[in-house]
């Protein structure tokens, strides 16, 4: 039915049609994503509030309706930041100063091109999806580095240096964790990775179980990769004020903020897809609606992982810099390397039961 509906605009636009249709599909992903990002900031403040026995934001409402208390907070925050002046520091490189937030948010959004939402629903179903994701997440560091350098400020520069070293170190562990996933799934295509987790044993046939050390490594280095607490030494407000975005104000700051939360959602979505079975249901297929695989399960899993990230922030104090480096190089990389070898040997034996 959709095809017949689309036939008319297709004939009307001619050669422009593929471009416009792709743009429309991109908007269909980015607009809900940005809404999720906005409300994730509210959920973070609420959840940390609950954990600290506070209420969290509960005043701003739409049209004065009391029981919507707090729900208008992201809108109010966004409007406030939009209306603030953008100050470019003296001696800063203006072009790079403005480019930095764009470089931060670009990979966070571009990575969504290969994320499958259901077996058929994916913007670009490419073979090397996992590699593409790794490449895109590794580009995120440029926003931070360029921001730190272009600001012409020592605090910002220190933040950028810390971030560069941290992201390069954790990317290796993250890459090795993904190697484990592609070994188990025998594919780099994200849709096929989810399909490979479809076993008879419900949630026990997902990859978190055979790849448990890699799952933990991926989750923790994901937090480090997006500069979230307890790995947020790049911001480190107790030591270097606000790190790389100390000179940013107004909308330029807001874009960094959006990029951080978009990355959070991306990493949790990927954890859900790679290790937690994506859209597959944790229950046996005989349970009717609960047992059927659906988009809702994917959202639910990603939501749980995002909430875990917020929980980390409420629980742990910030890591010291040398301890971050030790965790990345001396613990995660050996753990992942050993598990890849174990996995390789395990897959050769009949004890490996995660085949489709």
């Amino acid at each position: 039915m959709i095809d017949s509906l689309l036939a008319y605009p297709q004939s009307l636009l001619g050669p422009l049609w593929p471009v416009l249709w792709t743009l429309a599909k991109i908007l269909m992903i980015v607009v809900p994503l940005m809404l999720c990002v906005a409300y994730l900031t509210l959920w973070e403040r609420k959840l940390i509030g609950f954990m600290q026995i506070r209420i969290g934001p509960n005043r701003t409402t739409f049209f004065g309706i009391r029981w919507l208390g707090g729900l208008a907070q992201p809108v109010a925050d966004g409007l406030k930041l939009l209306l603030k002046e953008i100050i470019v520091p003296t001696g800063a490189n203006k072009f790079l100063f403005v480019l930095a937030p764009i470089m931060a948010i670009m990979p966070a959004l571009a990575a969504w091109a290969v994320v499958p939402f259901s077996p058929e629903l994916v913007l670009s179903n490419i073979d090397a999806g996992l590699l593409y994701l790794l490449a895109m997440t590794s580009l995120g560091v440029y926003g931070v580095i360029i921001a730190g350098w272009a600001s012409n400020s020592k605090y910002a520069f220190l933040g950028a240096m810390r971030s560069a070293a941290q992201i390069v170190s954790y990317e290796i562990a993250m890459g090795f964790a993904l190697v484990g996933v592609l070994m188990a799934a025998q594919s780099l295509n994200l849709g096929e990775i989810v399909m490979a987790q479809q076993g008879g044993a419900g949630f026990l046939s997902w990859f978190w179980l055979p790849l448990f050390p890699l799952f933990l490594t991926y989750l923790i280095s994901g937090v480090a990769e997006i500069n979230r607490a307890p790995f947020d030494v790049a911001e480190g407000e107790s030591e270097i004020v606000a790190g790389f975005h100390v000179e940013y104000s107004g909308m330029t700051f807001a874009v960094f903020f959006l990029a951080e939360y978009a990355n959070m959602i991306l990493i949790s979505m990927l954890t859900a897809i790679l290790f937690l079975g994506g859209w597959l249901s944790p229950f046996p297929a005989s349970w009717g609606v609960l047992g059927a695989s659906s988009f809702g399960w994917l959202i639910l899993k990603a939501f749980l992982v995002v909430s875990t990230f917020i929980w980390f922030r409420a629980t742990f104090p910030r890591y010291r810099y040398d301890q971050i480096m030790r965790l990345g190089w001396k613990i995660f990389i050996p753990v992942t390397l050993v598990w890849i070898v174990v996995l390789g040997a395990w897959m050769q034996t009949p004890l490996w039961i995660w085949w489709k």
């Binding site: 050669p15 593929p18 471009v19 790079l96 490419i126 073979d127 090397a128 590699l131 593409y132 790794l134 490449a135 590794s138 580009l139 560091v141 440029y142 580095i145 360029i146 350098w149 520069f157 950028a160 240096m161 560069a164 070293a165 992201i167 390069v168 990317e171 780099l188 010291r320 040398d322 301890q323 030790r326």
Partner: protein, 204 residues
């Protein structure tokens, strides 16, 4: 001009511009960033040539890791342009020879039609379902497994050598061992002494 041709020309123009700026930009950080742009656009061209694995790996390795460390170093350098220019005349002959070689190589490529390049068969586009990544992996781990492992061992030796060259053990440094710090227990730090309660003296 089809859309694909448009993309090719667009990427090629950006690539040439970025490559020129790498050598003409005065600020070394700008030059490094233009090199990043050149890598990204050439990755785009490679992907258009159906070499998607190489294109993505170019971004992953060179842009995601090598150039980050490169920028890291370049940003921390205190570069004095006049001092950099000092050695210009002494380096010129070497540079000129390298430039001449490059010009000859480029001329050979660009003048392909004169050397019978046009007769070479056009590579056929891959059938659908053909995975570049899988094919490369199969070749590397079957036909070329020994050269591949040899290269890996050489790289490993290089890593060990680089670490050994920079490793200095300083004797009197107050070295901190995070493993010991993490493993610390309350009993190691605090001693709780039991003391009998004392009575308040009257009239004091």
């Amino acid at each position: 001009m089809t859309f694909q041709e448009f993309i090719f020309w667009f990427f090629a123009a950006v690539l040439i511009f970025a490559a020129l700026r790498v050598i003409t930009a005065r600020n070394p950080v700008h030059a490094a960033l233009f090199l990043v742009l050149a890598f990204c656009t050439s990755a785009g061209i490679w992907i258009q040539l159906e070499a998607e694995f190489l294109g993505i790996v170019l971004i992953l390795v060179y842009v995601g890791a090598v150039m980050v460390l490169f920028l890291f170093v370049v940003m921390m350098l205190d570069i004095n342009l006049t001092r950099l220019r000092e050695g210009f005349w002494s380096y010129l002959p070497v540079g000129a020879v390298v430039a001449l070689l490059l010009v000859i190589e480029m001329a050979l490529v660009l003048a392909g039609p004169y050397f019978g390049l046009a007769e070479a068969p056009r590579p056929e586009s891959a059938p659908s379902g053909y995975s570049n990544t899988k094919e490369l992996g199969r070749l590397l781990y079957t036909d070329y497994v020994y050269p591949f492992e040899l290269a890996a061992v050489i790289l490993l030796v290089a890593i060990v050598a680089a670490i050994a060259l920079t490793l200095r053990r300083r004797k009197h440094a107050k070295h901190i061992d995070p493993a010991q710090q993490v493993a610390v227990r309350r009993e190691d730090r605090v001693r709780i002494v039991s003391m009998p309660a004392e009575k308040k003296e009257d009239g004091a």
